[in-house]
């Protein structure tokens, strides 16, 4: 360890000139796009809303005791029998849409982030294994990835949920199964390039163990493209979960995510009660678009080919 740190200092400061830290440069590069900054701020607000949903909501939308069926399907701005103002209207069970959306964001973000995280771990481990060991293991793993990616994500998720049934854990399994292949492919691609670089050779000469080589040296250098894929995949996962829940094969009715809220409003839409489907859709849209905006900017900032 000591040898490593001493070496680093010497290199990074050869003429005693002060360098801008990589993190600083990254932040200033990222802030060059105003749209991405707006996107990031929206994401932060949405995450805060999701975390503090119980404090921000006027009622607990999952607690049936607090709901009054008489308050059902009130248009935006109406006041309920108990004196709550439904700023975004109420759904068929008298649930305040705004509170419903806050809690729904919680479920949607939670499921999206959780599945992306598990898929990231599984996918990148397999991708690293494939790239590091090569040969048969590589071709076997990548063949499975190719086959999986030749089927559309909706179809794979549909197959799994048709077999497994509804539930938060099941939809996470389905989303992980859909996503891992993207991570595996990205990591393998990067790792194949990184593996041949000199620092890896140097590390190998020090006779470090395989796991240390892979996790301490190879993985950190594969991170930039991986971060971009994570952002894009979280957005995909949220959209896919909403779609599956909308179809009624994703989350159970007791824990409405945004997709389920939209589905609840579907039958009332034909009679002109737009708000039950409209507002959760806007929340979903804001979330997905902001994540994509941030992802786009990250791709530009982290892509070494685009850096001058």
């Amino acid at each position: 360890m000591k040898i490593e740190t001493g070496f680093e200092q010497e290199i990074s400061d050869p003429l005693g000139k002060k360098e801008i830290s990589p993190l600083r440069r990254f932040i200033s590069d990222f802030c060059e796009s105003k749209v991405a900054v707006v996107g990031l701020s929206i994401i932060c607000v949405i995450i805060l809303i999701a975390i503090f949903a119980p404090l921000l909501s006027v009622q607990d939308p999952y607690d049936l005791a607090q709901l009054d069926i008489m308050d059902g399907r009130l248009p935006p701005g109406e006041v309920s029998g108990t004196g709550i103002t439904f700023w975004l209207g109420s759904d068929d069970q008298g649930r305040d849409m705004l509170s419903g959306i806050f809690y729904g964001l919680r479920t949607s973000l939670g499921v999206g982030a959780m599945s992306a995280f598990i898929a990231l771990i599984i996918g990148s481990s397999l991708g690293l294994t494939a790239a590091y060991f090569g040969g048969r293991i590589d071709s076997l793993i990548m063949r499975i990835v190719d086959i999986q990616l030749s089927f559309p994500a909706v179809l794979v998720a549909l197959v799994l949920l048709a077999i497994l049934g509804k539930g938060v854990d099941k939809i996470i399994i389905a989303l992980v199964a859909v996503q891992w292949a993207y991570y595996a492919r990205t990591v393998r691609g990067t790792a194949l390039v990184e593996r041949r670089k000199e620092y890896m050779e140097a590390a190998r000469c020090l006779a470090l163990s395989h796991s240390r080589l892979v996790f301490r040296h190879l993985l950190p250098n594969c991170m930039p493209p991986l971060i971009v894929v994570v952002t894009v995949q979280v957005a995909h996962a949220i959209a896919l979960e909403a779609t599956l829940s909308f179809l009624g094969i994703g989350l159970p009715v007791t824990e409405p995510s945004l997709g389920l809220l939209i589905a609840n409003g579907f039958e009332y839409m034909l009679s002109g009660r737009y708000w039950i489907s409209f507002f959760p859709g806007i929340a979903l849209l804001l979330t997905i678009v902001s994540i994509n905006l941030v992802g786009d900017q990250l791709r530009d900032v982290l892509n070494p080919r685009l850096q001058s």
């Binding site: 190719d146 030749s150 909706v154 179809l155 002109g272 979903l284 849209l285 678009v289």
Partner: protein, 325 residues
């Protein structure tokens, strides 16, 4: 070529086998097959007869074998709801799905290419910018929600187009189709646009990038130098050259359109296979679920194989031996 075909066919067979095993384990081993495969309304004697007939008293591997042999003979059980063979039910619903998917593809090609070319010819004009922003929206908007909003706008508020169903159909070679009657056309328009939205955005992007690239090429300069009209240069020379990437990508996306029609069909109550599977999952009509899953996976394997072969024939630069999936 033959080596490639053999390898691909072996691989396809393997995928199908794994898939059938997965479905078998899912349906037969996790759940109780008696509940799943036999109509719950049947009496005790009938249940016992069915257990014998389905071989549920035999060991697991033998059951799987029976399942496989039956599946190969096209026997995937009878639907509880419709009381006809599950496979037949799916065959009945398939034309509706294929029609919707085909119409959506048609829309995305015939709207996407001209729009993309306009955006590519005038990238900095407001028209070009509007088209591009539209295509970015098409990528990010959740398709199912857009479908709902389209119903809200065009069916509920404006009342221009119907929100659900297939409308009048005409039989063409014994297969009912909607797009040949005016009423059917008005029914297919909204779902097809909804299903096409994503592909449309993709086509616009491809056509725009292709046009911008082609406009800088020597052959365009040469055509101009020959004194050809602007219209001819664009319609003949540029158009031909942007078709290659567009056709390739859209071919690969055909499968995606069919898979995603599950969502569109549910929104617009389009009576295709997609709506059938969602309905079957909701009422636990398991034979239909099993049949649908095996059918679609086989269909995808065939589509992937055909696309790969066509691709290699269109573009001789692609060597089949190098292709992976």
């Amino acid at each position: 070529m033959i080596a490639f075909l053999i390898r691909r066919l072996t691989q396809s067979g393997l995928v199908l086998l794994v898939m059938s095993l997965l479905v078998f384990i899912g349906v037969f081993a996790i759940g109780n097959p008696v509940d799943i495969l036999i109509n719950p309304d049947a009496d005790q004697e009938e249940i016992e007869r069915a257990i014998k007939a389905l071989g549920l008293d035999k060991p697991m591997w033998e059951q799987y074998w029976i399942f496989l042999v039956n599946a190969l003979q096209g026997d995937l059980g009878r639907s509880f709801v419709f009381n006809i063979p599950a496979l037949q039910l799916i065959w009945q619903r398939m034309p509706a799905t294929l029609e919707l998917a085909g119409f959506a593809m048609f829309l995305s090609i015939f709207l996407g290419i001209p729009l993309g070319m306009i955006a590519g010819l005038k990238p900095d004009s407001w028209v070009g910018r509007t088209i591009m922003s539209g295509s970015i929206l098409g990528f990010s908007l959740p398709t199912f929600w857009v479908g709902l909003m389209m119903i809200l706008l065009f069916a509920v508020y404006l009342g221009w187009l119907p929100a659900s169903g297939r409308g009048e159909t005409v039989d063409v070679f014994g297969v009912p189709v909607s797009f040949l009657t005016l009423n059917g056309l008005s029914h297919i328009l909204l779902p097809a646009i909804n299903l096409a939205l994503f592909k449309l955005s993709l086509t616009i992007r491809l056509a725009r990038a292709g046009t911008r690239e082609a406009m800088l090429m020597d052959y365009v300069k040469f055509a101009r130098a020959k004194g050809l009209s602007n219209a001819r240069v664009i319609m003949v020379h540029v158009f031909k050259n942007i078709m290659i990437p567009v056709v390739t990508v859209l071919g690969l996306e055909l499968g995606n359109v069919i898979a995603f029609s599950v969502v569109t069909e549910t929104i617009f109550s389009w009576p295709g296979m997609g709506k059938l599977i969602i309905d079957s999952i909701n009422v636990l009509d398991r034979p239909v679920i099993v049949a649908y899953l095996l059918m679609t996976v086989s269909m995808f394997i065939v589509i992937n194989l055909v696309v790969d072969i066509i691709y290699s024939m269109l573009d001789p630069r692609v060597r089949l031996g190098d292709m992976k999936s």
